[in-house]
Assembly symmetry: C2
Homo-oligomer: 529 residues x 2
């Protein structure tokens, strides 16, 4: 279901209850641009800190204009997943100034994105940090109106106006059926307004005289209250309601965080960074601070692209872009039944015409997730929701690190791995220590890996002289890693020169190279899925 400011209020309760009942939510977002050219371009040899800084700059610069949420709930009786999809159009706070990349917007428009709907009816949002600031500000503001000081009314017309208004007010003050008196702005000159604000407001107790704009007509509204306290209560409630409206879409994100519902996305680093920066709090400058922020505030994150890059999926499905992964998983593996949640809207597994709509992409992501974890769980999949699978442990809070030569994923909460994994083929995994880590830590890590891998996978520490078979796999290993582990260090030093050459090597997984992006041209501008 598409959600704009025209139906938000009405739809919100159902969104919140769908999240409340969900095992997990799949999400996807669309942006006004991916990253700046020049220094913000991803480099294959970015350190995690550099990659953090670049992704943070992107999230702070560009707009997030659509956010898709699909809630998934396992219905054990039917061995099926119920789901509901919402696609939110996001405009942000009035007056927000952000960047747009015309390539990105053209790409979205060509894929059917409705920009007219976005700019006419997009939802507002505020970060939770901005909300807290507002509330702190409120505490310092008095809602007690200032004492009005009457002005001199000499001119004939003005005196007549004052007198007539007094008569109206006298009647209004005793009329118990009425709380509000509305004076049409078209008959009120700016001097008459002054009379209302200063003279009328001074004459009567516990009233509120103010301008309200309706259909661009600035009318004067006069409200009466039983006491000064009830006037303040009214103003407080009104202020609260306005803040609530300004929060808009943030209510949805807040619900996900509050319930701790796990979040699944496909190659979701940017989606996550935009979501945090715009709806939680500004992304901190330091990578370590960011990890703390995620650890304390964000539910567990899973990236379907990361799962898809590991065996067994990478063997059958060499291309991990969302659309291809989705259709290949649906045909080569056996997805469970998916049913649209009763009383909700979503997609069907047969739909395939809406790619790059955030709602449909969220739906596809969730289906990929369920189908892959079902496969990993084997015959036991029926017993529980996929989100409870023990096979998910190695993927928790790790997101795919795209266009990276040597770091396949970023750890969102823990320390970055001191070693990288190289799949030589689908059952043979090399572990390459990246920095000078001691042998003990290395061995410890190998144990953890063994525990997480399917039993058939062989794991070797790269450069370990005890490792057998070094010769026999040398044909499959690219030239850069021929000699010893210390050579890996040298790659880091290659940064300044010829790092583009590295793209020809495929260290990351035993899968084939990724397909080119869906549109041709500079793929720095097209969202990689």
């Amino acid at each position: 279901m598409e959600v704009t400011k025209d139906n938000f209020k009405e739809v919100l309760p159902s969104v919140l209850s769908a999240i409340e009942n969900a095992d997990f939510v799949a999400v996807d977002a669309e942006f006004t641009g991916l990253r700046h050219h020049g220094t913000s371009k991803y480099c294959e040899l970015d350190t995690p800190e550099e990659r953090y800084a670049k992704s943070r700059a992107a999230a702070q610069s560009f707009g997030m204009i659509q956010f898709g949420v699909t809630t998934f709930r396992y219905v054990k009786e039917k061995f099926a997943y119920s789901h509901a999809t919402y696609c939110f159009y996001l405009l942000g706070k009035a007056g927000d100034i952000l960047y747009y990349d015309n390539n990105s917007l053209k790409f979205l428009a060509d894929n059917g994105f409705d920009f007219n709907k976005l700019f006419k009816s997009g939802l507002p949002y505020l970060s939770l940090a901005q909300e807290a600031e507002k509330r702190a500000e409120y505490k310092t503001q008095s809602l007690e109106p200032q004492m009005p000081s009457p002005i001199k009314v000499a001119e004939e017309n003005a005196r007549k106006f004052l007198k007539e208004t007094e008569a109206k007010m006298d009647a209004f003050m005793v009329d118990e059926s009425q709380d509000v008196l509305l004076l049409p702005g078209s008959n009120i000159s700016s001097f008459f307004r002054k009379i209302l604000y200063n003279n009328i407001a001074a004459l009567y107790q516990n009233i509120l005289v103010r301008c309200v704009t309706t259909d661009s007509e600035r009318n004067i509204e006069i409200r009466k209250f039983e006491s000064s306290a009830s006037r303040i209560k009214f103003l407080e409630e009104e202020r609260e309601q306005r803040l609530d409206e300004k929060m808009g879409f943030t209510h949805v994100i807040h619900k996900i965080l509050e319930t701790g519902t796990p979040i699944v996305g496909h190659n979701l680093i940017l989606d996550l960074f935009h979501m945090i920066d715009k709806m939680v709090q500004p992304l901190p400058e330091q990578h370590e601070q960011f990890k703390n922020l995620v650890k304390c505030n964000i539910p567990t994150i899973y990236d379907t692209k990361l799962i898809a890059k590991d065996p067994p999926f990478c063997v059958d499905i060499p291309i991990t872009s969302l659309g291809i992964l989705y259709s290949d998983l649906c045909t080569k593996y056996s997805p469970p039944d998916f049913n649209v949640e009763d009383g909700y809207e979503s997609y069907n597994i047969e739909d395939n015409s809406k790619a790059h709509d955030a709602g449909y992409d969220a739906f596809m992501t969730g289906v990929c997730f369920v189908t892959m974890v079902k496969k990993l769980d084997g015959i036991h999949w029926k017993n529980k929701s996929v989100i409870k699978s023990k096979h998910l442990a190695p993927y928790a809070n790790r997101v795919n690190n795209m266009n990276s030569y040597d770091i396949p994923f970023l750890n969102l909460v823990g320390a970055d791995e001191p070693m990288k994994l190289v799949w030589v083929n689908s059952t043979f995994l090399y572990v390459i220590p990246l920095d000078d880590i001691d042998n003990k830590a290395c061995k410890q890590h190998l144990k953890t890996l063994h525990a997480n891998c399917p039993p058939l996978v062989r794991i070797r520490l790269y450069g370990d002289t005890g490792s057998s078979k070094r010769k026999s796999v040398s044909d499959e290993v690219p030239p850069g890693v021929e000699t010893c582990a210390s050579r890996v260090q040298e790659f880091k030093r290659l940064k300044s020169i010829g790092s583009d050459q590295l793209s020809k090597m495929t260290l990351e997984s035993p899968s084939a190279e990724e397909a080119p992006p869906i549109v041709s041209g500079d793929n720095g501008n097209v969202k990689e899925l």
Copy 2:
């Protein structure tokens, strides 16, 4: 007529000939935002240099997404103006990254702007400076293809492919009816591509082997030429054609500059700055350099808002925003006949539902211009096109300086006036010297003013002790100018504190205060017309 990349090629000749035959063009543009908040906000006491810097920053930051041009031509036999209107959707160079203000885009969307059309089919443009750079680059580039070095073809399939392709090529080379051989990309592996680029290309003289992408299919095209020279000629022409396509909308602006057709706009400082920055050359850092640029490259500019702020119009029409000025001029004055140019499209004077469409705004601006100058010319208006009116002299190359307390206009080519003009009422003009200018220059300026003003207007130098009537007009003059001219200097010093208080004074013209902008809210984000 709306112009996008879907009809640009077809429409361009008629646009160019309409400009060629026009007496003047009226223009209007729409932007993705007006200016940044904070330091870029206009201050009422900005110096011309400060205002230049702020407007320049705005033009460099935001996108120009629509440009309307109405050509006007006086047809003396009919005492009527023929006109044609084009409304161009502008997207710019692929990958341009600019700012958008969501308030501005919401305002445009609410007024019917079609953003889907913009992002799908907006026109490209390049500045003339970028075009020149490209051409200089071309001079250093060789179009002579590199000598291919054949690769070893050992594998059975590859040898078969090479052999078959050789047979095809032999037939193609002798077939006089064919210049191009197209090999479908779907059957060609990356190794086969290498065979084509290296082995086939080396086997035949004067051919061109390259990849061409059609419907996202990367096919291989092989062209043959009579000689190496004709191959280079073909590549040169193709490169020229591509550049021509990238120039897009700039061709229209180029035509206006080339023909020296006067440009009329309403409050057009931003329109002009965007146009120069995006289609001519980057706006220079220094205000003086900018004046030189305009003097050397841009035809005469007229700003209808400036004319409307002077008598007699300011007396009858206190509000100078475009829509109100247009309808008031049409009813209170007598516009001549306006006819749509034969074979062209435009608007009629009865249409009134398309405000904030750049085409319609350009049309309204032109009608306002003609109607006002006709009035100034009195009974002689029929003799010639309004663009030749001597009454235009004081307005040439001066643009309205909006939200300024003390500088009503910016001089685009000459020195900024060392004095400001204050209309006390519609026939009484005070001249206030702004800096320490000598008496002689002051008197000289007064003479010029006298010559340009209607005969009934009295002109006085402010602070001149010889000036009579100082007392009698003091009620009409706001408090700030009571004592002497040196007081004006003090306003400049007020910049840092309380300059907002100045907005309550209406020194600029005898007209009433301007109406609030058409939409409510922070008018820093809504284009003032």
